[in-house]
């Protein structure tokens, strides 16, 4: 549909020397972007596989661990991203129609949403750091380890016992200790959580950089953005970032045991 809306009179385009026609150039950019997004899907795909495998191996620990996440903040972020995806699409449309002011507004709103997403993420992360849920030597789990509520001596012990692992006393790594093992399963969950959401947040940051650059270029009427193609490509990228979150949110925040 994008190509029908495009009208050379509205948006003059620059043809790179390796291309013959403007359609060929635009198609190449679109195909290239989609191919790039395929690599991105494979990138996240490996992490989703790891998450699924470990969830099926440690259903209880993963259920408990995911309960510690803040579902509502995640939901807020889902709405923020969905909204930003809409405005990104609108920005592409207005750019195609040559409505510069509207493009700036929609792009600006998308960037704001992205910052909002990172802000919420910051609140989430800082809470998790406070509770020592970041994996590594300082990882702690303050809730009881057993899946049933307060049971006998274990419940009493676990408050004390689940501290930082002590390494090097024994011939065997201390991490093989049972409560350490339980602890580590939660750490495993949080490792995947931080890797996945961190990687996603990294993509959001790249998105902010891209969109802001575009905004400035359009604002200063740089000839590079006479054409709608850069906005279209950035829009595709932004939708991808959104879609990854659409998969991430239910798989990490919502799904408990199968």
């Amino acid at each position: 549909m994008s190509l029908e809306l495009q009208h050379p009179a509205v948006a003059p385009q620059r043809l790179s020397h390796q291309f013959e026609q403007i359609d060929q150039q635009n198609d190449s950019y679109i195909v290239g972007m989609w191919t790039f997004l395929v690599t991105e899907i494979m990138f996240f795909g490996a992490l989703f596989v790891a998450l699924t495998v470990y969830r099926s191996v440690y259903p209880d620990a993963f259920e408990q661990a995911h309960n510690a996440l803040n579902v509502w903040l995640g939901l807020t972020n889902t709405f923020i991203l969905l909204t930003s995806s809409f405005t990104a699409a609108m920005a592409v449309r207005s750019k195609m129609l040559g409505q510069r002011a509207l493009t700036l507004v929609f792009l600006g709103f998308t960037i704001l949403c992205a910052f909002g997403f990172l802000g919420v993420k910051y609140v989430e992360y800082s809470a998790e750091f406070r509770e020592h849920h970041f994996p590594g030597p300082n990882f702690q789990w303050s809730q009881t380890v057993s899946s049933a509520p307060a049971q006998g001596d274990l419940a009493a012990n676990s408050q004390v016992a689940l501290g930082a692992p002590k390494v090097g006393v024994n011939e065997f790594p201390a991490s093989y200790q049972p409560q350490q093992l339980e602890l580590h399963k939660r750490e495993l969950f949080f490792s995947l959580y931080f890797v996945m959401t961190g990687l996603h947040a990294f993509h959001v940051i790249i998105g902010i950089c891209t969109l802001s650059t575009l905004w400035l270029l359009i604002y200063f009427k740089h000839p590079v953005v006479d054409d709608y193609m850069p906005v279209e490509l950035a829009g595709l990228y932004w939708h991808f970032v959104d879609i990854v979150w659409i998969f991430l949110y239910p798989l990490v925040y919502l799904i408990g045991k199968q």
Partner: protein
């Protein structure tokens, strides 16, 4: 030339001056090279870089062979030995074999073969080279200053917890190089899809382009998976997060699954481009269409897709489920079929051809023989029960060297000799090239055939010390490796020599078909003055075949001998006259 009607408005029919503007002499500044967006210059940059990396990898290999001459080597410590084979594997796999053909010959030829002025994204192409260089410098630095001892497979939990070498720096280097090959893959896919010349339909594409297309699919789908997997190893080492470490509930087998999900298809990244080259070379020097073009093209695609379903055959003995082993074994047997199709089609192409035995063809025949052995021994390893015995032994080492060196490197050499005149505008000495092909073939077999026997005898790979009864085979292998090294140094010397003293290459020294032979050697920066219009299939050698059988060799242009440095502006006569000598060959 008249038999190639593809490019009516172009160069090359009449007289020609050697100093004509081309991509090499258009500018000479350093920045014109380092900031170039020309796919041909980037190909040359890549060629220089991977040759340097190959040298490093080769030195490490020499170290390994020196150590293995004696059963209880004292020349190196075990730490050093382990670092040597790790360096050899990492450099050769990630910094030589994976980028070797796609980034050099592919980069150079793909746009020309499809009649384009450049790849779709020239600056992305340059970025790819910089990423490669950055990764390579990082990895070489890490190897020089401390080294790494995990092997190229980075198996958990050794790589994340137990090794105290430069694992992080090396993995980051490999990670970055991975993005360089992703950039190349995306570029190729888009270029093949969108930039073909008018009339160049999918089934008129040269098989080299098909091979690059299949390779790019594998790169695009596989590389990100290994990238993120290795990144998690780094996170485990640096932040102590827990993903694969069994001490905290992680599963090292999951690492192996994710690793081989890329690294098995990576084998096809290395071999498919070579197969493409062999198709070009065989068709050209047999003066025939490739036998069963569609079968060869689709077998590339079949290999690319099935290649993603066989990774588990690396893990028959690890404790993966017996039944998954059986499935992976079955698919592995099936993937042998497209390879067999290719081998038989190449052989059948020579049948009733008018075979011109040149050094590229000799390298190509060497490729087919060695790849046949490499492929068939792969079936030993695909056989479940036999693999229980042979897995992780020297049999595996021999098998993949037959595929990677006998296959990928012989293919690369065939391609390099075939297109060297086009790339550099100079001819190499044919006699030396033939000699080096024979020396490489003999040296290669002497090096790696004994390793099959060692493997069946039970010698595990990555062993610094080994039982003394294996010594004679190891001595043979080490002796062979020195022959192989000689075979590889000779081309290095004559290629460099040819840059200055080689005869000047005509546009089409082999009388070959294909768009790249219709433009001047070396090509001009923009490749084509006008966009060529393709009106015939690839390998339409019928006219040439008929002419040669009738004794007319006028389509083979003779090189202009190098006379002296003052010989710059001599224009060339019609190239028909010197061909009577060609005829007698």
């Amino acid at each position: 030339m008249s038999s190639i009607p593809l490019n009516p408005g172009a160069i090359g029919t009449g007289g020609r001056t050697r100093a004509r503007e081309n991509y090499l002499n258009i500018k000479h500044t350093v920045s014109s090279w380092l900031l170039t967006a020309d796919h041909k210059r980037i190909a040359v940059l890549y060629m220089i870089s991977i040759s340097v990396m190959f040298l490093f990898g080769g030195v490490a290999a020499a170290g390994i062979r020196i150590a293995l001459v004696r059963p209880h080597d004292t020349f190196f410590s075990s730490e050093t030995y382990n670092k040597l084979f790790s360096a050899h594997g990492i450099i050769m796999v990630f910094f030589f074999l994976v980028p070797s053909i796609p980034a050099t010959l592919g980069n150079f030829l793909l746009p020309i073969m499809i009649g384009a002025r450049d790849l779709a994204f020239p600056r992305l192409n340059l970025l790819s080279w910089y990423l490669y260089m950055f990764g390579a410098v990082l990895v070489m630095g890490a190897i020089m200053f401390g080294g790494i001892d995990t092997g190229w497979t980075f198996y958990e939990p050794y790589s994340s917890v137990y090794s105290n070498t430069n694992v992080v720096a090396v993995i980051v280097g490999v990670f970055i190089a991975g993005f360089s090959s992703i950039a190349t893959g995306i570029n190729f896919l888009v270029t093949v899809h969108k930039m073909r010349a008018p009339g160049l339909t999918w089934f008129r594409l040269p098989l080299f382009v098909w091979a690059m297309y299949a390779t790019s699919i594998i790169i695009v789908l596989g590389t990100p998976v290994v990238a993120i997997t290795l990144l998690m190893v780094v996170l485990e080492r640096v932040f102590g997060v827990c993903v694969f470490n069994p001490a905290c509930g992680g599963d090292p087998i999951l690492f192996e699954h994710l690793f081989w999900f890329y690294s098995h298809p990576a084998v096809y990244i290395m071999i498919l481009p070579s197969m493409g080259i062999i198709s070009e070379v065989i068709a050209c020097f047999a003066r025939k269409r490739i036998f069963g073009y569609e079968f060869v093209a689709f077998s590339s695609m079949a290999i690319a897709l099935l290649g993603f379903l066989v990774w588990g055959h690396h893990m028959f003995v690890t404790g993966e489920s017996m039944y998954s082993g059986m499935v992976f074994s079955l698919i592995t047997f099936l993937i042998a079929v497209p390879s067999a199709i290719k081998v038989f089609n190449w052989s059948a192409t020579l049948y009733k051809g008018n075979v011109w035995l040149t050094s590229p063809l000799i390298f190509a025949i060497g490729f087919i023989l060695l790849f046949t052995i490499g492929g068939l021994t792969g079936l030993f390893l695909a056989s479940l029960a036999v693999d229980v015995h042979l897995n992780m032994t020297y049999f595996v080492v021999a098998h993949f060297h037959y595929v990677m060196v006998g296959g990928a490197i012989f293919g690369y050499m065939a391609g390099l000799h075939f297109w060297w005149p086009k790339i550099t505008g100079r001819m190499y000495p044919e006699g030396w090239a033939m000699l080096s092909a024979f020396i490489m073939f003999i040296g290669f077999n002497l090096t790696f055939f004994p390793q099959f026997i060692l493997g069946f005898d039970g010698m595990p790979r990555r062993y610094h010390f080994y039982p003394p009864e294996f010594q004679m085979w190891n001595i043979l292998s080490s002796a062979g490796s020195s022959v192989l090294a000689v075979g590889m140094v000779i081309p290095g010397i004559y290629f460099l020599w040819s840059l200055k003293y080689g005869a000047f290459a005509p546009n089409n020294p082999w009388g070959a078909k294909g768009l790249e032979w219709t433009i001047q050697s070396p090509p001009p920066s923009h490749n084509f003055d006008t966009v060529p219009i393709v009106t015939e299939d690839a390998y339409a050698y019928e006219a040439i075949y008929a002419a040669e059988l009738a004794g007319d060799y006028s389509h083979v242009e003779a090189p202009i001998p190098y006379l002296s440095t003052t010989d710059k502006q001599v224009s060339v006569e019609s190239p028909a006259s010197p061909n009577s000598s060609e005829e007698r060959k």
